[in-house]
């Protein structure tokens, strides 16, 4: 029945070649990604020990020292960013899902959130410098937190909205029919029902900002010493990696790698956690 055997064969061969090329092309980029992970782990684990976590940085050129101040700094800076960003984001997400819905204004707010999410982090740094550092007269952890909050807000707003929209209306009505005011219905029924999803969004956002360096360069700035005061310049893990990697000292390079392991581990953990939570929501539906 097949009248063009040669042509059919050629089609079959062409298919096989094409599929093989696709698979090869698809596998090539996994190489650098694999190497990055392997290099970080290999280089980093060599120089990690308990002291590294407990000590302050050594003066330039000297060997030894640790990242205790940067570790604490990252927690403080990110923590304050969360405190600033999360309430704003959740309330804005509530506005979009409960009040704004399909209105023009809500659409403009969504576009704004997308725009904000696309603003390069270095530009966010400039803005935080102009808004906080300049008026205060000096660099501070707080200004870094403001920058990071600006970066996390759009992420949390959009996930909050999406999650709250998935809460079925019959739950809202059940609450309203009990004589519960709408605002309490939102806070006590709608938000708790979507809380796992909102938490997922927050974790994703935190994972993203915890590794941000550019917005901290001229806000938190870095600090060789330990400080808990958010109004002072403060060190952070990403800043350590950048400063040490671009320094001329071999021992600092080693420490940059060690810090990279710590930061990578933190970020991966947050991402994995958020995924587990997201799976759980998907499972419940």
């Amino acid at each position: 029945m097949n009248t063009y055997p040669a042509r059919e064969n050629w089609r079959r061969i062409k298919n096989q070649i094409a599929v093989i090329i696709i698979i090869l092309l698809a596998l090539i980029p996994t190489l650098p990604l694999f190497f990055i992970l392997a290099n970080i782990i290999h280089e980093g684990l060599r120089s990690i020990n308990l002291d590294f976590f407990l000590h302050l940085p050594a003066p330039p050129g000297e060997t030894g020292g640790g990242i205790s101040n940067a570790l604490v700094g990252t927690f403080i800076i990110v923590g304050i960013a969360v405190i600033i960003g999360v309430p704003i984001s959740i309330l804005a997400g509530i506005y979009l899902s409960e009040y704004g819905k399909d209105s023009k204004l809500a659409e403009i707010i969504r576009i704004s959130a997308d725009v904000l999410q696309g603003v390069p982090s270095i530009v966010i740094g400039i803005v935080a410098y102009a808004w906080v550092v300049r008026p205060m007269g000096h660099f501070s952890a707080f200004s870094g937190s403001v920058a990071l909050a600006l970066m996390m807000i759009p992420v949390v707003v959009r996930t909050t909205e999406e999650v709250l929209r998935l809460v079925p209306d019959i739950l809202r009505e059940a609450s309203l029919a009990l004589g519960v005011p709408y605002w309490r219905t939102v806070m006590k029924v709608v938000l708790p029902t979507g809380m796992v999803g909102v938490t997922t969004g927050i974790l994703i956002a935190v994972a993203r900002i915890a590794g941000e360096t550019a917005p901290l360069l001229f806000t938190a700035f870095g600090n060789q010493f330990m400080t808990l005061n958010p109004m002072e310049p403060m060190n952070a893990l990403p800043l350590v990696i950048f400063n040490y990697a671009t320094s001329p000292y071999e021992d600092w390079w080693r420490q940059a790698w060690a810090t990279a392991v710590v930061l990578t581990f933190m970020v991966l953990l947050l991402n994995i956690l958020s995924r587990i939570l997201a799976k759980r929501i998907a499972g419940e539906k």
Partner: protein
């Protein structure tokens, strides 16, 4: 009864507070734009449009032209895009269409985790592992063996945006309806013919949106680029040259700028970067909206 009967009152307050927070987001975007304009005003006033097409960047003589950085950003971003696109597309087809879910799911998972690694870590890796490779290449090609430079920056960018473009494209490819594919197979089309003539055309605009989003990221990417581009503020002549992007020059010089006009010039670069990335992101958004309508 001791019930709270003033529901209406608190309802109003709650509604107003959440509306204000939502409006704040518009306010932030506008505020960022206005801040950038105000802060860069000395530079805008001093150089006008010349800022965009002159190539001298000299803090000593207070002459600032941003063309080298515009070129640096566009060159590295597009080069990264050119390098990454074939791989991203192939990867998306592989994960979305060829690989069985048992294989595709864990790979996608790892891909997305890697996409979350902070850019400063990509920079660190590139500095110590990519730079020697590029140096070796440069010796082969007879270029000055800096190791650093525009080409290295493009490579890191390509690696960084790849998972991003890939996952968008893969999601769109997965959305191609089963019956359309089956119709093609039913006509006796091979897998490759189905991919080429059915799946890719169907997913075309989504794939394009993914590429545009990846471009948006590449344009604004700072740390990894800053660490490997060489930071030279002159017009680059080839891709092997040392250079600077808009983002990297800000990262390098912002805290060192002592002159007001120098700082303003850096902010003006930030303003340009802001405008460019907003436009690119809005384009991607438009494509995605059109996609959803379809």
């Amino acid at each position: 009864m001791k019930f709270n009967l003033a529901g209406q009152f608190y309802d109003d307050i709650f509604r107003k507070i959440s509306t204000v927070m939502a409006l704040l987001i518009i306010g932030l975007v506008i505020g960022i734009f206005i801040t950038l304009v105000i802060e860069s005003w000395p530079s805008i006033k001093a150089f006008g449009l010349r800022f965009i097409w002159t190539t001298t960047w000299d803090p000593v003589s207070r002459e600032f032209g941003a063309l080298p950085f515009l070129v640096g950003t566009l060159l590295t971003s597009f080069l990264a895009l050119i390098i990454a696109t074939p791989f991203a597309l192939a990867g998306a087809i592989f994960l979305g269409e060829i690989a069985p879910p048992r294989l595709a799911n864990p790979i996608s998972f790892i891909m997305e985790l890697l996409a979350g690694i902070p850019s400063v870590i990509y920079g660190l890796w590139a500095l110590f592992y990519l730079v020697p490779i590029v140096r070796w290449l440069e010796i082969k090609f007879g270029a000055p063996p800096f190791g650093l430079g525009m080409f290295t920056a493009s490579l890191v960018l390509a690696i960084m945006i790849l998972p991003y473009a890939l996952s968008v494209a893969r999601d769109v490819i997965k959305l191609v309806p089963q019956d359309i594919k089956e119709a093609a197979y039913g006509l006796g089309a091979t897998r490759w013919e189905t991919i080429l003539h059915v799946i890719v055309p169907y997913a075309r605009s989504g794939i394009f949106a993914g590429i545009v989003l990846a471009l948006g990221r590449a344009l604004g990417e700072t740390m990894a680029v800053t660490m490997v581009i060489g930071n030279r503020s002159a017009m680059p002549h080839s891709i092997w040259d040392l250079g600077n992007t808009m983002a990297s020059v800000i990262a390098n010089e912002f805290t060192e700028a002592t002159e007001d006009v120098h700082l303003a010039a850096l902010v003006e670069i930030g303003l340009l970067l802001f405008v460019i990335t907003v436009i690119v992101n809005l384009i991607a958004r438009l494509i995605i909206i059109r996609l959803k309508v379809k």
